[in-house]
């Protein structure tokens, strides 16, 4: 596949390296000349020294034949505009934006950028997974749709404990995809009984996250 990576900071550099190692074709756009030269020395002549938020640079980088553009600069507004320009002017089929301020995830979605990565959010999820009380975790957003995967642990005294999956008051569009009980993955039917300590995998529209939380924790 062909990827255009906008921004050759630490994230852009290592991402490009990984993509190259996986056998993909990559062009990196970096506005800073010194950084562009440095990355060029390390990865070969796949670096374009130009501002990625300008339409001309995107055209030259071949965004119109790219399978995906990934904007990973340290500036959220720039990442937003890079992705929107690629979508509008080059019709790049898939655009992914790095979001530095996790609050901007929802803003980007509203403004038409469906796929975002927030390192803060990823780290928070890892930390929450380690905490005993971290019973509710949105794990990932599902590519190309406004849905996400949530993991939740059934706690003592919550509405679902001891009840059937079918009796959960999940919002419309949400469904239980599976249950992890004592390390084993179980199939979830409507009449599967939920036990305290079960970890439930829920697929849900991203917008209905708080309703899922309510259904599971009351």
């Amino acid at each position: 596949m062909y990827f255009v990576v906008a921004g050759a900071g630490e994230v852009g550099f290592h991402l490009s390296q990984a993509l190259l190692e996986a056998g993909h074709e990559v062009t990196i756009i970096e506005a800073d000349r010194r950084r562009a030269n440095f990355v060029q020395e390390k990865l070969g002549s796949i670096v374009m020294n130009a501002p990625a938020d300008e339409g001309r640079a995107q055209m030259e980088a071949g965004c119109s034949r790219a399978d995906a553009l990934i904007a990973v600069t340290g500036d959220d507004a720039k990442n937003l505009v890079i992705c929107q320009l690629a979508k509008l002017r080059c019709h790049t089929p898939r655009v992914i934006a790095r979001v530095n301020n996790p609050k901007n995830e929802i803003v980007f979605k509203t403004l038409g950028i469906d796929e975002t990565i927030s390192s803060t959010r990823v780290l928070m999820n890892v930390i929450e997974q380690e905490l005993p009380s971290g019973g509710f975790m949105p794990l990932m957003s599902l590519a190309g749709s406004a849905n996400e995967l949530i993991e939740a642990e059934i706690a003592i005294g919550t509405p679902p404990a001891g009840k059937n999956v079918g009796s959960l008051r999940l919002p419309s569009g949400a469904l239980v995809g599976g249950i992890i009980r004592k390390g084993k993955l179980l199939h979830a039917d409507d009449d599967t009984k939920l036990e305290v300590g079960d970890r439930v995998m829920v697929f849900s529209p991203t917008a209905a996250e708080s309703e899922v939380r309510k259904a599971l924790f009351g």
């Binding site: 339409g55 001309r56 500036d75 720039k78 505009v81 509008l88 301020n101 403004l111």
Partner: protein, 171 residues
Amino acid sequence: MNVVIVGCGRVGGFLAGLLDSEGHRVSVVDIASTSPARAERAWFQHLPSSFKGETILGDGTDLEVLRQAGIEHADSLLALTEGDNRNLMAAQIAQKIFGVKQVIAKVNDPVRAQTYREMGINTFSRTTILGTLLHAMLQEDREVGEVLMRKALAHEAEMVLEPMKTPVKAR
């Protein structure tokens, strides 16, 4: 009219003063700069001392900051920072999330200005506007050049008479 202005540089400060003196409700948002060179200069130094509106120190692409500036009741938002991308983000947030009717963004790159105009965001590029004005003046195109210049000079005269806001030192 309730107006939110994001970016209080020379243009933002000038426009805020003008609208305020005409009796409109204006709030101005400008980012708290971390660079010492910038902090030495006052954040809202380009506002006239008579300015009665709100000044909010914060990021104009942050929903909470925009709410503080009264965006939920704003009739217009003008995004006039030095960054094209920040202006485009603030303008889109105002239009798509808060439903502000009139949204104008300063975008100096003509390509980006055009792309977003096609998307329904009102954009103007200093490059093309100033260039067109100067061109009209050279051609002695009265319709464009003279009318605009007369208006601009009149506003300038008013502004010069008024002292600027006393600089606020960064704490």
